[in-house]
Amino acid sequence: MSAVTQDTSVSTGRVTRAFIYLVLILFALFYLLPLYVMVVNSLKPLPEITGGNMMALPREWTLEAWGSAWSTAQIGVSPTGLKPYFLNSIMMVVPAVALSTMIGAMNGYILTKWRFRGDVWVFGLMLFSCFIPFQIVLIPMARVLGMLGLAGSVPGLILVHLVYGIGFSTLYFRNYYAAFPTELVRAAQIDGAGFFRIFWRILLPVSGPIAVVTIIWQFTNIWNDFLFGASFGGVNQPMTVALNNLVQSSTGVKEYNVHFAGAILAALPTLFVYIVAGRYFVRGLMAGSVKG
């Protein structure tokens, strides 16, 4: 088997190759343009933006806008900067991602290795949750959170995102574990391992790729969510809502450099997750589809 190469490309001539690279580089530059504009303008003093060229490099480099966006900018009624909201987001995202991934893994394990009557229906219903638009559940969700006493709190947001995330995480793990040999589970049963032991010792250790996929997916979705944050955040609003309040404020001078810095700050965590774990992403999505 080792003789089989992983090379799937078709050999091409030199000219074709140069053309392909040229096109790819042009597209890459085009996609990088917004980020360039954001970074460059966040490092300029405000007059340079209002009076000058948006594309130009700063004449005077300064981190002032970043400092302001982080700790002193006016968000709503108080000049706190984005810092407290960033922390809100972290406190919401980390447990929500961890819990939905764990529960998704457990669901996938049960739905593939401990099949029961009607399991296909249960899975179908869970899949259905992936297709329900957020707006539909706003009012019932508000009622439920109210009854649970979690309205306007970070735990309330965690619950909302957890409920919404389980559908996707279950889908990912179920499909991943479907390709996992059932003989291994049977061998472990004969060896005397129980339900949880098989999960912890046999399945989880080989779930790296799909866990990364799920974490990236959940992290991006939950971090970037605006609707639930604005609806159920109360005073504990997440980063996205605060950024909106910063950028959309209709009073005072529009501090574009601060806005750009704030927007980058809001995007940094997802960017970080992609860069650190991104190479597993494609690998995980492809897992099981090709042998070897």
């Binding site: 040999p181 003989e183 061998a187 004969i190």
Partner: protein, 370 residues
């Protein structure tokens, strides 16, 4: 009462019955092979012994303990799977001791058992590797090692050699047989390969369509097959089955055949009770090795009958030459010495060892017992 008792066991999935009234008593130290084509129920039966499938009715007992409903880990069995089922995230050593660890055996004892088995199977140098870094044959050994470490009452093998290449399969077959002779363990082994069944077992259960067709020693299965299925499934090339009519010459029963040119040929039948079948059709079964050239015939047999026929094809296969002829319109294969002087298209004097011939009832397909 055997060491492992399978009594009146059936298995159904909904209204589909996949195993019918299986009754096998395995003695301690026996090597029982369940053999049959795919879908015959042999793996289902093995999984029921292991406790991985429930028993619809009947009883399975190990050492007189009823196993129905007992969890697989509490049956004191070990199983070797077709895919080996080694845990990919653990080293070889961890794989082999996982079962002991789950059963709460203390670490020093585990290490000792591991060292003993690793030495026995000559895999001591592999203990720190992951299964992904092993070759097929090494994985096979580790899978067996994992079973051996547990020191179980019964070993279950589920087609353990079918993922190996042909040469390695023959080597491992010998290894398993040696291991069994040395350790004298009780083994139930599932395979679809009749050669494996014949070489390894002390007893064979031939299965088809959920029924045990015959249970017996390899020699009984090979020489006295209970029915047409067992006769044709066991042995390669398969037993020649020739439809024929029984005629009486004097008072001795003969099989009436026709050679390639349509001439009438009579073969004296050894089985005396076939006189009762005079004038009726039977299926005559002759194994290829019972048809030879006159020099290659078994000298101990008192019933070598000559048979003159035209040779259709010869197939030299190294040690043997397979010769095909047409008898009563059926292609019949003979197995001869490599240097037998046979030529296609020519008439040849075959020698048929009628001691080894068997007869089947064309209606029931059961053997007509002498």
């Amino acid at each position: 009462m055997g060491f492992l008792d399978i009594s009146n066991v059936t298995k159904s999935y909904g209204s589909v019955q996949v195993l019918h009234q299986v009754d096998i008593a395995v003695e301690e130290g026996e090597f029982l092979v369940l053999v049959g084509p795919s879908g015959c129920g042999k793996s289902t039966l093995l999984n029921m012994i292991a406790g991985l499938e429930s028993i619809t009715s009947g009883e399975i007992r190990i050492k007189d303990r009823v196993m129905n409903g007992v969890h697989p880990s509490k049956r004191n069995i070990a199983m070797v799977f077709q895919s080996y089922a080694l845990y990919p995230n653990m080293t070889v050593g961890q794989n082999m001791t996982f079962g002991l660890e789950m059963h709460g055996v203390p670490k020093p004892e585990r290490d000792k058992a591991l060292a003993d088995v690793a030495k026995l199977l000559q895999i001591d140098h592999l203990l720190d590797r992951k299964p992904g870094q092993l070759s097929g044959g090494q994985r096979q050994r580790v899978a067996m090692g994992r079973a051996l470490v547990r020191d179980p009452d019964v070993f279950l093998f589920d087609e353990p050699l079918s993922n190996l290449d042909a040469k390695l399969r023959v080597d491992m077959r010998t290894e398993i047989k040696k291991l069994h002779q040395k350790l004298k363990t009780t083994i139930v082994y599932v395979t679809h390969d009749q050669i494996e069944a014949l070489t390894l077992s002390t007893r064979i259960a031939v299965m088809n369509k959920g029924f045990v067709q015959q249970l017996g020693t390899p020699k009984e299965i090979y020489d006295q097959p209970a029915n047409l299925f067992v006769a044709t499934f066991m042995g390669s090339p398969a037993m020649n089955i020739i439809p024929t009519k029984v005629v009486l010459e004097g008072d001795a029963p003969h099989a009436e055949l026709s050679d390639a040119e349509g001439n009438r040929v009579l073969l004296a039948l050894n089985q005396r009770n076939l006189t009762a079948w005079a004038g009726r059709e039977i299926l005559l079964g002759i194994r290829p090795e019972a048809i030879t050239d006159p020099e290659g015939a078994d000298r101990n047999s008192g019933s070598i009958r000559p048979l003159s026929n035209v040779v259709t094809v010869t197939e030299p296969a190294g040690a043997d030459t397979f010769v095909t002829m047409s008898l009563s319109g059926k292609d019949v294969i003979a197995r001869m010495r490599a240097d037998a002087a046979v030529h296609p298209g020519q008439r040849f004097e075959f020698a048929v060892n009628m001691e080894k011939a068997v007869a089947f009832d064309p209606q029931t397909e059961a053997r007509i017992t002498p």
